[in-house]
């Protein structure tokens, strides 16, 4: 399989806007032209099968074109972002990058040869298949980043069917499997991607209003912030038809408020992992956390409450870690799930699970109850080791207005007694002054 069919489709979309980046619009015709220029530039430097090209940028015209050109030439692509620049040297070495394309704001670019040669067996597999590759680094909150290799032609397969042309905001970044998925999905159907320079509620709402954005893929943490900011009341967001959320469990309270404020918007949960790609699923309804996998190109099973997936779009493997698949090709997602007939609900990472004297506590469930408490803006729940109980439930809050800890704890306990089992109620409570999410707008659950 190659990416030829995908690239052949792009000129068909002609003058339609392919992307809006920093307010600058690029049509498909322009994108195809820029891609051709990149192909020449790359070809002159010997880019092709078995060569690894890193592109450090965002969803700008030059970055997207360079991506498409390297893909067309059958090379392996490593999308990176400026946010991760401190770790870039390490990424280049692990991925055996021989050419780095660096894009600055304003889309000026530089190319630099790198001292590495692709030798990994997974790269040879791609060359044998004649397929372009994609390397994504797992954000790895703990330990070393893992380099995940995908067959990019296989990733493209699920976009063969032309779907509705949509304008989608690329909230997830250029180095994220979800971000790349959005870009390829949109280009395959002649839609438009809109990139914001600043991922604040205001900038996102402005972009939705200005570009009449149809789909907003984002994280529950950002949505919570979005609701709190009140931007939904001051901007015209009527173009918005779909909000897709994923990357972490969604608190029921956030989903409920979202549904109240956007009654006509479909709220859709997506499920993906850097190792698996984004799996197509359907939410039971807009105010439901229950999803059903459509099973297009993948199978699922539940073993001891943990979700396992076998997917055609799954990674070939890690460049720098042992294989994760079992003998039959199943991958343990380490996500705990609850099952109800054909629907299931993601409870959260099994590793986030708190064990209070043998009782299992899911942080997301506790956070969900705590978010409906007055004056709570955000909360992260995590386990703390305690010799008497093994672990105790700890909660770190961001309040809307300051409140004495004693009074807050009394209110919190009273609130929780009606909603949670005794062992689920946080014993260790602290009030934070700093925000509790990282650059990916995912909640940071740790001590």
């Amino acid at each position: 399989m190659t990416a030829a069919w995908f690239l052949a489709r792009l000129p068909e979309w002609g003058d339609t806007t392919a992307l809006v980046s920093h307010g600058r619009r690029t049509s498909y015709a322009e994108l195809v032209g820029t891609t051709a220029a990149w192909k020449e530039r790359f070809a002159a430097r010997g880019v092709g099968p078995g060569r690894v090209v890193a592109i450090d940028g965002s969803f700008s015209e030059q970055a997207c074109s360079a991506f498409l050109a390297a893909m067309a030439l059958g090379a392996v692509l490593v999308p990176l972002t400026r946010l991760m620049r401190a770790q870039r040297e390490r990424f280049l070495r692990i991925a055996e990058v021989s050419l780095l394309v660096e894009l600055e704001e304003g889309d000026a670019f530089t190319l630099s040869e790198q001292p590495y040669t692709a030798a990994n067996a997974l790269y040879q597999k791609l060359t044998t298949r004649g397929a372009p590759g994609l390397v994504i680094f797992s954000s790895g909150s703990t330990g070393a980043p893992k380099a995940i290799v995908h067959d990019l032609a296989a990733v493209l397969e699920k976009f063969r069917q032309v779907r509705q042309k949509k304008t989608t905001l690329t909230f997830l970044l250029f180095d994220h499997i979800g971000g790349i998925d959005t870009m390829l999905n949109t280009f395959a159907s002649g839609g438009t991607i809109v990139t914001v320079a600043d991922r604040t509620p205001e900038a996102v709402a402005d972009a939705i209003q200005a570009e009449r954005v149809h789909t907003l893929p984002t994280s529950p943490t950002f949505l919570n912030w979005f609701l709190m900011s009140g931007v939904a009341q001051t901007r015209d967001l009527s173009s918005l038809k779909v909000i897709a959320y994923g990357t972490e469990p969604m608190p029921e309270s956030t989903l409920r408020r979202l549904h109240e404020i956007f009654p006509d918007v479909s709220l859709v949960q997506t499920y993906g992992m850097s190792e698996l790609g984004v799996l197509r699923s359907r939410s039971k309804s807009s105010d439901s956390l229950w999803i059903k996998f459509t099973g297009e190109g993948f199978q699922t099973k539940i073993v001891d409450g943990i979700l396992w997936v076998k997917a055609e779009t799954a990674m070939l493997g890690y460049l720098n870690a042992p294989d994760l698949f079992d003998a039959e090709g199943w991958l343990n997602t380490q996500d705990a799930v609850e099952v109800d007939g054909e629907y299931l609900r993601i409870l959260g990472r099994a590793s986030d699970l708190i064990n209070v004297g043998g009782q299992k506590v899911y942080p997301a469930e506790v956070e969900n109850a705590l978010l409906s408490l007055d004056n709570v803006r955000e909360v992260a729940v995590f386990g703390k080791t305690h010799p008497l109980m093994g672990q105790i439930v700890a909660a770190r809050f961001n309040l809307k207005t300051p409140e004495p800890l004693d009074l807050f704890k009394r209110r919190m306990n009273a609130h929780c007694r009606e909603r949670l089992a005794k062992y689920q109620i946080p014993v260790f409570v602290e009030l934070a002054t700093e925000e509790q999410y990282g650059t990916r707008f995912k909640k940071l659950r740790h001590d």
Partner: protein, 101 residues
């Protein structure tokens, strides 16, 4: 260093606070001999953990000391250092002394 009277006050205050948190009225008389662990205890096991955390947080606030009261040593003693309010207060004093040395 924490004086025995200060430690006693903190344990007692924390106990009152824990009752307020868990929403159960405190027993009529709380004092030196109030039983916290075992038969006739006024708290269940989660309540005791809550009390320990409360005392630790208060010690940090009022005395600026960060102590781990439920440490391995405390757990391995034959008689629980959290048996009664009085014994708990002694344990606070002893743990603070040990941490300072």
């Amino acid at each position: 260093m924490i004086a025995r009277t200060d430690a006693y006050d903190i344990v007692l205050k924390s106990l009152t606070e824990v009752f307020a948190q868990i929403g159960t009225p405190a027993p009529d008389k709380v004092g030196e001999d109030t039983v916290l662990v075992g038969n006739d205890a006024v708290l269940d096991s989660l309540g005791v953990v809550q009390l320990i955390v409360e005392v630790e947080q208060r010690l940090e606030e009022t005395h600026g000391v960060s102590l781990t009261l439920a440490n391995d040593k405390a757990m391995s003693q034959r008689n629980s250092p959290f048996r009664t309010v009085g014994v708990f207060a002694e344990h606070v004093v002893a743990t603070a002394l040990e941490a300072a040395s």
